[in-house]
Subunit: 233 residues, 2 copies
Amino acid sequence: MSEAPYRRIMNALRSEIASGRLAPGDRIPSENELAQSFSVSRMTANRAVRELAAEGLVFRTAGSGSFVAEQRLELSLLRVPDIIEEIRSAGGHYSARLIARNRSPARGEIASAFEVPAGWELLHTLIVHESDGRPIQLEDRYVDPAFAPDYLDQIFEARSPNAYLTAIARPEQAEQIVEAVAADSQIARLLNVSRGHACLKVKRRTWCGGRIATLAWLTAPGERWRLNVKFSL
Amino acid sequence: MSEAPYRRIMNALRSEIASGRLAPGDRIPSENELAQSFSVSRMTANRAVRELAAEGLVFRTAGSGSFVAEQRLELSLLRVPDIIEEIRSAGGHYSARLIARNRSPARGEIASAFEVPAGWELLHTLIVHESDGRPIQLEDRYVDPAFAPDYLDQIFEARSPNAYLTAIARPEQAEQIVEAVAADSQIARLLNVSRGHACLKVKRRTWCGGRIATLAWLTAPGERWRLNVKFSL
DNA sequence: AAGTGGTCTAGACCACAAA
DNA sequence: TTGTGGTCTAGACCACTTT
């Protein structure tokens, strides 16, 4: 069961890009060069690069060449995507920093968004997700202890909160509200950007069994995150 | 400038699916049948169907066939909202400033996003939407003249480009890509914010008859615009 | 056994970009 | 002019599903 040649080429280029040997803006080998070095026909090399372009990893200009695109995660708003998967599929090395992990009584906006009375105790984590050591997303999450009592005992460096929670039970419903915000001092520090930097912030709620299971704010530097919604009418 | 054969096949199948002549679960013609009826090689038919599968419009099973996928998005929750409606329903008084209105040859990102050759002439408008006299959204829109030849003659102060265009024909498909950007000098001036201000920017494309009908960038100050996506899984 | 998708090949022609 | 990507062709072999 060996890998299809066009996939071998895609993976090879992905590694080059992930490792930084091919940096954004760099030209990648032409189709003819790839065909020769991988001992395949040009059509096979073409398909490999074409599919990388469809993924957004490279962009191509006829007559000029194919170039490594700015690395930018693209997530669909119609799914509840897993950050670790997204980073890996973009060719990055995932890591995480756990900033806070505690029990926290709901109040104000959190209580009202969670639809629980003020003072209700929720599980809380604050995590910085990193791609190749660079902060890429700040996740501020609240979880209903009735839904996932062992939530705080998880090893978040290995499994994202989202992956753990969806493994417990698939949500029936999700809501995502998107806005652009200027980085405040905490966000600036944790994401390693300057204060006032344009960030994309998603407030996400998911429902299980008719009740809100988790509430999370996901914040990322604007230039490193894009959200995509494509639908038929 | 005729259309590439594999795109002709894709569009033909899209129409069949959009019209309901091919319903979810139906088998579409095999690659060999498509190759014969469109007078192309099997590789060309293969590419057409493969790309439709990548879009999620069909799914394929080796040995069995290709089938129309369930189109099960919660449409009521996803729409292409009209800015005038939004402002009025929020209790604001709508007005608009027409900054530019012209014919413009497509090039670079616009040509590639519109999937037309460079130099193709598009209709272009640049409009600032205002609520109670305050700039609230900048709309930079390109329209295919074949789709809406009279587009430039509209009175945009009374009817939004979006409302006019959807009145001509309902799009079958829409794509919206969201990002956070810092205001550049033009955006800052037109939206009356400072340079670097965090803005939400949506790139929206809509399809009619298998072709891209319009492409628009919608930019708004982050604190005045939120996007909401709620869906069932 | 016949048909399907999945993939590869070794050529080809074109429009376009850079030198 | 040379090289690039964009595309098409007419064959081919394979693993798989259906009959």
